[in-house]
Symmetry: none
Subunit: 205 residues, 4 copies
DNA sequence: TATGAATGAGAATTCATTCAT
DNA sequence: CATGAATGAATTCTCATTCAT
């Protein structure tokens, strides 16, 4: 019966990934040594290779897990709000909350992993596309309902919206000051909704 | 001080930097070997070390030179346009033109160098601050003149504007399609000026 | 002493040895991993170590078993033939038959195991000595009976005879062509009996 | 002008090969570590890789050099003797002399290198074929001139002759006693010429 | 007994940097 | 100044062996 074993196996896998995130956050992507990840995860060097084909494979898994967690939350948000304007605001808040929650993870995410290795790029593209798709869907629906101006294509708008949020996140990660990322949400919402030509006045929230 | 020699020295330095950009663009930041840079520059491996302290130092120089070239152009643009709205549009166009001009350099810039090494980050911050300062100055002036809404701080706006442009640039670098980056300029201008609450209609240009 | 258990124990031991032969034949001596032997034998990695002290020990056992099987047959042959000339011919045929029977095993034997590890060498020497002794006994008796010329010492002759047969075997193992090794027997007999100065004409068989 | 450099390069290459032979002879083929070869050759580990692609490549080179040296001598011998019988005797002596000259080298040769790695085998086959060809040529000429019986194909005979010599060499390498390999030459000549059915009596030499 | 996940010592290889020419 | 051969520290990955279950 595999259940038990699979459970243990997955748990150790997670443990290793956690260790990897920790080390990468501390030392940076390329300065990260497999042996350090092993130590951080509390396993032997060789154990890493029972769970991951290679160092690169491990790093890809780190990235994948993080991105998937992020997307799951973002996509769930879509169901929670009914009108596009509210959905968009929720999406913006979630993006910043998600990234803002764990600075370590965010550092890995914003600074190191995302743009580094060719095959990470591929993956990055795939997952990023999912993100942009989700966002574009909201924007498209909003344009059809008249909530947003329709003079720019939703896909293009999605990129620019992501750019705004991503830059805020990166700035936060790299900045020394200890402000909360979520505190940028209001400004971002103002900026973005205005850029989208929202007819309605900003929500009271 | 022998001017002649300094001249030659600087020329070879530039040659090496050119080689470095070429190799980094082709192989990526971490896959780049000093010996490959040397070959690309047509010098011996050891010669690199007569001009740069270390490999990291070389890479920082690559980055610095590129960023400075970029800023020089952007800051010059400020003098060429008189009103903040026009300045902003020029700034946007310049950003995208600059990045769009040399896809190789852009790749180094967007994908590899910017977010990789701790001390590159420091540098990055310094230069990026200069960029954001320049942009914030325009925005501030615009807010004072009533060209832009003044409900968000210029520094915050500058980040978000940079985010939009940067994301467009990154997307362009990573995309396979061979569209021209400048062609995104119109959309970016629409998006951004609307976000800034520009009162005037878009310029005919 | 519990015969039943010993029986089972020996059976599993044989199973493991069979697996080892298979893997070694396929991958070569040094490319063989303990885990692969385990898989081929249908047991867990750890189980190997319940039957063999170490990997080297396992390999020595493989060799020993094969050599013993070989010698048993060879020595039996001595009883079956009465005169030295016939014994010699039978010996030659047996050598080539034995090796020729199982190309897999022969490959392990000729190519990999025999000359590889120091303590395998010792063992090899021991068993090889038994082989050479058996052969020398035949030759010695033949010399005494006048069947073979007696101008060279039997031990020396035995080596050279072994050399002829061994080289034929090695050539066969390494050759791509699928001829039967036994078909070389006639040539070998001609060559060797002539070298020994046999007075009688070759037997009709 | 390359001559000087090539000279130096080749010299160092030889130095490394010499070191490799020494270590392989001492520790055996698979127990040989690159770092040990480096130390034996008096160079740094990395230097090995300036002259050889990989460890396997280095070992192949060791083998190739040895085999070529051997063949050169053997083939020269052909020119020195006029009649096939004398040529054969010279060949036998040379084989045993060559191997007997340097026990270290012979150990590498007989025990380790020859039969170990797949691609070494290929090489081995190629060079061994050249050896067998040379020998077969002598035998063939001898058969045509009536010096040797012609009832067995020269190629087949060559293998068996090689087997005799090779076995004597292997026995010598593995034996503890300190006899000279060349002292086996007379016996080998007696055995082989008789096996070939030489009409003439053994030479006085 | 049997298992197989975990271990960690060990090995090949790379590549930034040096320095004799 | 320029060279590029040499260096050797550093790193990834393998695999024989162990031991808790």
């Amino acid at each position: 019966m595999p259940p038990r074993k699979v459970k243990l196996r997955d748990e150790k896998r997670e443990t290793i990934l956690d260790g990897a995130v920790r080390v990468i956050a501390a030392k940076g992507f390329h300065r990260t040594r497999v042996s350090e990840v092993a130590k951080a995860a509390g396993v032997a060097d060789g154990t890493i290779y029972l769970y991951f084909e290679s160092k690169d494979e491990l790093l890809r898994a780190v990235y994948e897990r993080a991105m998937n967690r992020f997307l799951e939350r973002g996509l769930l948000a879509l169901a929670e709000a009914s009108d596009p304007r509210a959905q968009l605001e929720r999406f913006i808040q979630l993006h910043l909350e998600c990234v803002g929650e764990d600075r370590e993870l965010a550092a890995v995410f914003q600074v190191d992993l995302r743009k580094s290795i060719p095959f990470l790029q591929e993956l990055s593209l795939g997952l990023l596309q999912r993100y942009l798709d989700a966002l574009a869907t909201i924007l498209d629906r909003g344009q059809r309902k008249g909530s947003f101006l329709a003079d720019l294509p939703p896909r293009e708008l999605a990129k620019m919206v992501f750019g705004v949020l991503d830059e805020l996140a990166t700035n936060w990660v790299l900045s020394e000051r200890n402000y909360r990322l979520e505190s940028s949400a209001a400004d971002a919402i103002t900026f973005i909704t205005r850029a989208l030509g929202c007819s309605q006045p900003p929500r009271s929230n």
